[in-house]
């Protein structure tokens, strides 16, 4: 055994020492045991791993999280105008549900779903995650599948008449959240999932979503403003023929955030848009790791990620488009850009295209740069103070990502949060 595998095995054993596979129906136990076996086989990530070169996994691996300060949430609740069904998670534990009755979708706790002998989630739970482990291992996702007791199971069978909003609260500075959500949007159905609020000192989460033929799934979430949070989140999505998947993540602050997206366009003419905007300063490390697979012909994918970084903040983008043999007429697009407000900040990008079909259109671009001096002077020459001019241009820079939010009301709310964040950083 080499020293490296020793370290990996030690880290994995240490993290797993206090975790056990929760009780459940036979199918759930089988899925969890399989995930546990996967995790033991691959081990927790190490800095030398290809996809962890830019992000140190040590604090995510540690048996206990580093404590994180609890922030006073002094902003009005997000997404209230959508009149959602609200599920509240305090330190990663579901503590309440409120809002009007929901039509078009059923919502259960993960515990209830995994206790039922006969359940729709039996075909899905752990499956997309397991498929998403190749060619790149995602150990934290397997960890969540194996050990999480908290989460929701949502099945949309029609046009859901309101969004489901996961409202997170962080109360205990040492809270460690392990969350596992599973969503199925049946053929032709539609659902919007919203998430907001500080989650815990540390979070390890997975959302597995199966968007069936002709179905629509929108996911809009915010992370922040808890400065000391560490999180490894994963979304595994399978998008069926003619189905639409749209995802947007706004990240404000956070000591370490690793957001992984694994999206497979599985049926013809499926569409997936994955986007994110992140702003951070100082001890802010933000990593978007995205893997989009075109497995069927005529599909469209878009990745649009933008980050504003300052005072030594670090942004990472690892994005891949894989076009499988036969996925002709693929339309793939990938954009990752960082605005560096000072020399201390940095952006590390690794865009990848891997194409095994000949009739495809794939483009990608990745840039990092400072504010445009000419634009800054133009604004100031009209009387806009320097700090405001910088904010206007930072917001303008992020707009391209915000444009990916289909709902204008939600986009305006998110924009307001960014403006407030910029305003506080004066």
């Amino acid at each position: 055994m080499t020293k490296q595998t020793d370290l990996r095995a030690e880290a994995t054993a240490a993290r797993l020492a206090a975790l056990s596979v929760p009780p459940g129906a036979p199918w759930a136990t089988e899925a969890r045991q399989a995930a546990r076996a996967r995790l033991l086989a691959m081990g927790l990530p190490q800095r030398r791993d290809e996809y962890w070169r830019f992000t140190d996994p040590a604090s995510l691996n540690a048996p206990d999280p580093a404590p994180a300060g609890v922030i006073a949430d002094d902003e009005s609740p997000l997404f209230a105008a959508t009149d959602p069904l609200r599920l509240t998670f305090e330190d990663g534990q579901l503590t309440g549900a409120d809002g009007p009755a929901m039509h078009g979708a059923t919502v259960e706790t993960l515990a209830a779903a995994t206790a039922a002998d006969d359940h729709w989630a039996a075909d899905l739970y752990g499956r997309l995650e397991a498929e998403g482990q190749a060619p790149v291992a995602r150990p934290f996702a397997a960890l969540a599948t194996a050990f999480a007791t908290q989460g929701v199971a949502i099945r949309a069978t029609g046009q859901a008449d309101r969004p489901v909003h996961l409202v997170r609260r962080h109360l205990d500075p040492g809270a460690d959240a392990l969350l596992r959500h599973v969503v199925r949007v049946e053929p032709g159905a539609s659902l919007t999932l919203l998430e907001s609020g500080p989650i815990a000192a540390r979070a390890t989460s997975v959302l597995e979503v199966d968007v069936a033929e002709g179905a629509t799934f929108h996911h809009v979430r915010t992370q922040g403003r808890d400065r000391e949070r560490r999180a490894a989140t994963h979304v595994f999505a399978r998008v069926g023929a003619g189905a639409r998947y749209r995802s947007f993540t706004l990240t404000l602050n956070g000591a370490l955030t690793r957001n992984e997206h694994v999206v497979t366009l599985a049926g013809e003419e499926a569409v997936a848009h994955v986007a994110g905007a992140a702003v951070g300063d100082g001890a802010f490390h933000h990593d978007d790791t995205v893997f989009v697979t075109h497995a069927a012909p005529g599909c469209e994918s878009r990745q649009v990620f933008k980050k504003v970084l300052r005072h030594g903040a670090v942004g990472v983008f690892q994005g891949k488009i894989l076009v499988r043999p036969g996925a002709q007429k693929t339309d793939g697009y990938q954009l990752s850009k960082a605005l560096l407000l000072d020399d201390a900040s940095q952006f590390l990008a690794k865009p990848e295209l891997e194409i095994y079909a000949d009739d495809v259109r794939c483009s990608h671009g990745s840039t990092a740069g400072g504010l445009d001096d000419a634009a800054l002077f133009y604004l100031r020459s009209r009387g806009v103070p320097l700090a405001d001019a910088r904010d206007l241009l930072s917001l303008a820079f992020l707009q391209e990502a915000l444009d990916e939010v289909a709902d204008e009301g939600l986009a305006a709310e998110l924009r307001g949060r960014i403006e407030a964040w910029l305003g506080r950083r004066r």
Partner: protein, 251 residues
């Protein structure tokens, strides 16, 4: 109102002297034209007055209503009443024209201790002025100058000038890239702003703009200095004989 005394400026990079002692006074209600061949320092004069980076003032002074312009940040110069209509207005994707104008106007008002305008009040002000310049709602709602034609950009500059109501307007080659109709529209917009308590410094290479915006005083600039000053006839002389004739006469 605007007083420039023996202003000497060099490019920060390479310490290349550009302005070599410019002296100029623009009184309230006056329109002064600055003409000169390429490279004479006309545009540098406008940038230095507006506060663009990259220039080092090595001597002289510039004041507006007694305020030392050269000591102020660009935004404070704007609040003091200075406005530069750019030769090449900057395109800024992602910032709406209206948002920008309102932010600018309210920042200036705030800086002067005046109350900010509400969205409704602001809209009323802008709509009326935009109409005079044939600027429609579509143009107002686009990002700043993005996808604007040359004429649209210059009209947008004049709109900003009309909304911000500066004390002193500097027009830097506002005629460049304009066809006859666009030039008339822009000139009408500028002329509408002429008033007894506002001054203009119109920088141009050609006389034709001055057919539309009649100057009170014409200065000829060459090699970083004002080499001749006269009435509107001086511009006509340039048109007839070129700069060479005047420069020969001045030296």
């Amino acid at each position: 109102m605007l007083e420039i005394n023996d202003l000497c400026v060099e490019l920060e990079e390479g310490a290349k002297p550009i302005l070599k002692g410019v002296t100029l006074r623009v009184g309230a209600g006056e329109v002064h034209a600055v003409m000169g061949p390429n490279g004479s320092g006309k545009s540098t004069l406008s940038y230095v007055l507006a506060g663009r980076e990259g220039y080092a003032v090595t001597g002289g002074t510039a004041t507006l209503d007694g305020a030392d312009l050269l000591a102020l940040e660009p935004e404070r110069r704007a609040a003091a009443g200075l406005f530069l209509a750019f030769q090449y207005p900057v395109e800024i994707p992602g910032v709406g024209n209206m948002t920008f104008l309102r932010t600018a106007l309210n920042a200036q008002r705030k800086s002067r201790g005046e109350p900010e305008l509400s969205a409704g009040e602001f809209l009323k002000v802008v709509r009326a002025k935009a109409q005079q310049l044939a600027i429609g709602a579509e143009m107002l709602n686009r990002p700043i100058n993005v996808g604007f034609s040359g004429g649209e950009k210059k009209r947008n500059e004049v709109l900003q000038m009309a909304v911000l109501e500066p004390r002193l307007c500097i027009l830097d080659e506002t005629d460049s890239g304009l066809d006859v109709d666009a030039m008339r529209l822009v000139a009408d917009g500028v002329n509408a702003l002429r008033s007894p308590d506002r001054g203009f410094l119109v920088i141009t290479h050609y006389q034709r703009l001055l057919d539309h915006i009649r100057p009170d005083v014409v200065h000829i600039m060459a090699d970083g200095r004002i080499v001749a000053t006269g009435g509107p006839d001086l511009a006509l002389e340039v048109e007839a004989n070129g700069y060479a004739g005047i420069l020969a006469g001045a030296s």
